[in-house]
Amino acid sequence: MKKKTIGTVWLAGCSGCHMSLLDIDERMLEVLKLADIVKSPIVDGKEFPEVDIALVEGAVGSEEHLDEILHIRAKAKIVVSFGDCAVSGNVSSMRNYLKTQEVLARSYEEAESNDSKQIPNAAEILSLSHRVHPLHEVVDIDYYIPGCPPSADTIFYVLNELLNDRVPDLAVIGGPKHG
C-alpha cells in the first residue's frame, strides 16, 4: 500500500484538539508507518499541499479561514472536521450572539489584563467575520470527530480506520461525544 499523506490545521480554535492528537503517544508510530504528516502547525511547511487526509480543527471565523478551508477542500481527498469548534462552532462561535465590535472591546479595551486598552489593528492580524461557522456550513465534510477535545483514543481510531481504507464509525467506540 502506498504511504498516505496527512495534513492538519487549526482555524478558529484553541489548539486543544492538536494537543489531544499528540496524546495518542506511541500510537503515533503506527500512524507514521502508514502515512506522512506533511503539513501541520506542529511540523513545518508553508502552503497546504495536496493530501489524502486533512484534519481541520477550529471553526471558520475570518475571511482568511474561509480562504484556507476552501483551499484545503480543493487539495484534500478526505476532510475531517476535527473537534467541537469545527463540528459545531463550540466556544469559538459563542460570539455569534454578540456584535464583533463588542467582543473586541470587551477583550482589549475593558479587560483588566490589557494595559494598552487598544484593539490591535495591524494588517497581518485576522479580520473577524461577523459570524462564526462550523466547517460543514462552508464546505463539504467527509467525517466528523466531535469532542472538546476529542479523546486520543477516538482520534487514533478514526485515523487508523482511514489509513487502512476503512470507514470509521464512531458507534463502534461508544458514539460521538460532544464536549
Binding site: 471558520v60 475570518s62 474561509l66 476552501l70 459570524r131 456550513e137 462552508v138 464546505v139
Partner: protein, 552 residues
C-alpha cells in the same frame, strides 16, 4: 310543542310577512360592512319611514349573499332584484324607483331574476353552478329573528328527532348521508357521533368548532352571521344523538360580528324552548354556552381547543385517547365544525339518501368555499362536491383578474397546498385534493395568477405556521423555524441546492414526527410547491450559483 304547533307557527309567521308587499334585504355581513353596509341599511330604513311605507316594506339586515366584492349588496324581494355597490346617497332610489315607481333601477342592478333586463351574465355564472344547502337561508332571512328561521322550516328537524327518532336512528341517518367533517380532515360525522354515543358517562359535551383560523377563510363566520339557528339546531340534534347535556361554541375573538347574532340566537332558542331544561316539552335538556377564542390557530385542533375551553394554554396533547373518549374535563366530547352542524337539519328533514344525491360517492353533499385572491368574482360560494376547480375559478369566479394567466389555487390554507393548472379539471373532493398534496380544509380557496412567486407563498405559509406553532413538540417548534429560515435564505437568493435538500428532508420529518395536525400539515404548502413549482425554487437558487458557499 308538537309538529303541528311548529308548522302552524311557521305558517303564521309567513302569513304575517305576507302583509308586506316588498322585503328589502340589506347585507350586513362582514364582507359588506367594510363597504359601508350598516349606513346603507339605516338609510334604507329611514327612507321607508320617510315615505311612510313601513306597513308595506320590510327592511331586513341579513347575512352574506356571496358577492362580497360588489358590496354593499341589497336585494328586493319578491322581485329577486339584486343591487350592487349601494351607497347612502343612492339607496333612496331603490325605494323611489323600484318600490314606488315599480321600475328596477337599471344602472344599480347586479342582475335580475326577471328575464330582462339581464344586466350581465352573473346569474348564468356565479349562481348557476352553486347549490345552496348550508347557505340556503343565508341572505334570505333576518339572522336576528328566530321567527324568520322557523318560517323557513327551522327546528322541524329537531322536532322530528325528539318526537319520532331514537338517538340510534339519528346516528344511522347521519351515517347514511355519508356526511364528512367539514373542518378539514373529512372524518365521517356519523361514525364520530356513534363513538361518543357508545361511551357510557354521566356527562358528555358537544362542541362546535368556530375557530376558523385559516387566513383566507370566512365560511363559518358567514354561516353564523347569516343563519345562526341552523348551527344551533345541528348542535342540539347532535347532543340528543350522543347524549350530551352541555354544548360550547368556540368562536374566534376576531369575529365580533358573528358573536352577537349567535348570542341573540341562543337567547331566542332558550326563550322558545329549543334549548334549556325541557326542550320542546320533552325530558331532553341541553344548554349552549359561547367560549370566545383569543387568537391561536392551533386551537382549531381538537385537543388544543379543549384545553382552551378549559381556560388553559391551547396546546394539543397526543391522541389516543381521543376527545370522543376523554374530552372536556375528561368526559366524552363531540367536536364538529360549524358547517358540519349546519348540514344536519337538512339531512334529518330530507333524509340521508337525499343528501347523497349531491356530490361524489365518497364526498357527498356540498361544500362552502370562500373564493378569494386574483379572481374576478370573490365571495362566498357553495358548490356540490366533485365540481372541478376550473368551474369554480372560471365559471363561478369569472376568471382571473385582468385576464392574466392562472398559476395556482391554494386550498386548505396553511395546512393545504397549491394546485397547479394541469389539475384544474380534477374534481374537488376530499380524496382528489389529498392526492394532489393539498386538503379540503375548512374551505378557503385562494387563486393566484402568474405574478405570484411560489417561494414567497410557501414562505408566507411557513411563517404563519411557525408563529402559530404552540411550541410544545420539538419537530414543529424547531422544524417550522428552520424551514422558514431556509425558505427565507432561498427567497433572498442565498440558498443552495444543499439547502433545498435539507428543506425537503425537514418537511417530511415535521410532517411525520409532529404531535398534532398543525405540525403534521405545516409542510404541506411547501411540499406541494416543491412538487408543482420547483422551477420557482431553482430560479431563486440559480441567482446564487456563482457564490461557492454563503455568507461570512
Amino acid at each position: 310543542m308538537s309538529r303541528e304547533d311548529l308548522k302552524q307557527m311557521a305558517q303564521r309567521i309567513q302569513d304575517d310577512k305576507k302583509k308586506y308587499a316588498y322585503t328589502i334585504f340589506a347585507c350586513n355581513a362582514s364582507g359588506c360592512i367594510p363597504s359601508g353596509s350598516e349606513a346603507v341599511f339605516e338609510a334604507l330604513k329611514n327612507c321607508v319611514k320617510d315615505r311612510k311605507l313601513e306597513d308595506q316594506v320590510r327592511v331586513v339586515s341579513c347575512g352574506c349573499m356571496g358577492i362580497c366584492a360588489q358590496g354593499p349588496i341589497v336585494r328586493v324581494d319578491p322581485d329577486q332584484s339584486i343591487y350592487q355597490k349601494v351607497t347612502v346617497e343612492n339607496a333612496h332610489r331603490i325605494i323611489d324607483e323600484h318600490i314606488i315607481g315599480k321600475t328596477p333601477v337599471k344602472d344599480m342592478l347586479l342582475f335580475s331574476h326577471e328575464k330582462e333586463p339581464l344586466i350581465n351574465s352573473f346569474e348564468e355564472t356565479f349562481f348557476k353552478k352553486q347549490k345552496r344547502v348550508v347557505l340556503r337561508n343565508c341572505g334570505r332571512i333576518d339572522p336576528q329573528s328566530i321567527d324568520d328561521y322557523i318560517a323557513e322550516g327551522g327546528y322541524q328537524a329537531l322536532e322530528k328527532v325528539l318526537k319520532r327518532m331514537g338517538p340510534e336512528e339519528v346516528i344511522a341517518e347521519v351515517k347514511h348521508s355519508r356526511l364528512r367533517g367539514r373542518g378539514g380532515a373529512g372524518y365521517p360525522t356519523g361514525l364520530k357521533w356513534e363513538v361518543v354515543y357508545k361511551y357510557v358517562s354521566d356527562k358528555k359535551f358537544v362542541v362546535c368548532n368556530a375557530d376558523e383560523g385559516d387566513p383566507g377563510a370566512f365560511m363559518d363566520r358567514s354561516v353564523i352571521e347569516g343563519d345562526p339557528h341552523r348551527v344551533l339546531e345541528g348542535m342540539i340534534i347532535a347532543a340528543y344523538a350522543v347524549g350530551a347535556q352541555k354544548g360550547y361554541v368556540y368562536i374566534r375573538g376576531e369575529y365580533a360580528t358573528a358573536i352577537k347574532p349567535l348570542e341573540t340566537a341562543i337567547k331566542q332558542a332558550k326563550k322558545n324552548g329549543f334549548l334549556g331544561e325541557t326542550i320542546m316539552g320533552t325530558t331532553f335538556k341541553f344548554d349552549i354556552e359561547i367560549r370566545i377564542g383569543a387568537g391561536a390557530f392551533v386551537c382549531g385542533e381538537q385537543t388544543a381547543l379543549i384545553a382552551s375551553i378549559e381556560g388553559r394554554r391551547g396546546t394539543p396533547r397526543p391522541r389516543p385517547p381521543y376527545p370522543a373518549e376523554k374530552g372536556l374535563w375528561g368526559y366524552p366530547t363531540l367536536i364538529n365544525n360549524v358547517e358540519t352542524f349546519a348540514n344536519i337539519s337538512a339531512i334529518i328533514v330530507h333524509g340521508g339518501e337525499w343528501f347523497c344525491e349531491t356530490g361524489t360517492t365518497k364526498s357527498t353533499g356540498t361544500k362552502v368555499f370562500s373564493l378569494a385572491g386574483k379572481v374576478k368574482n370573490t365571495g362566498l360560494i357553495e358548490v356540490p362536491m366533485g365540481i372541478s376547480l376550473r368551474e369554480i375559478v372560471y365559471d363561478i369566479g369569472g376568471g382571473i383578474l385582468d385576464d392574466r394567466e392562472f398559476k395556482a389555487a391554494q386550498t386548505g390554507g396553511p395546512s393545504g397546498g397549491c394546485i397547479s393548472k394541469e389539475y384544474l379539471d380534477r374534481p374537488v373532493d376530499y380524496e382528489s385534493l389529498v392526492e394532489l398534496g393539498s386538503i379540503m380544509g375548512s374551505g378557503g380557496l385562494i387563486v393566484m395568477d402568474d405574478t405570484s412567486d411560489m417561494v414567497d407563498v410557501a414562505r408566507f405559509f411557513m411563517e404563519f405556521c411557525m408563529d402559530e406553532s404552540c411550541g410544545k413538540c420539538v419537530p414543529c417548534r424547531v422544524g417550522t423555524k428552520q424551514m422558514f429560515d431556509l425558505l427565507n435564505k432561498i427567497y433572498i437568493g442565498r440558498g443552495t441546492m444543499a439547502d433545498l435538500k435539507v428543506l425537503e428532508e425537514l418537511a417530511i420529518f415535521v410532517k411525520e414526527a409532529s404531535l398534532c395536525g398543525l405540525g403534521m400539515s405545516a409542510p404541506n404548502p411547501l411540499l406541494s410547491s416543491l412538487r408543482f413549482f420547483k422551477e420557482d425554487f431553482l430560479q431563486h437558487i440559480q441567482r446564487n450559483e456563482k457564490v461557492v458557499k454563503p455568507l461570512i
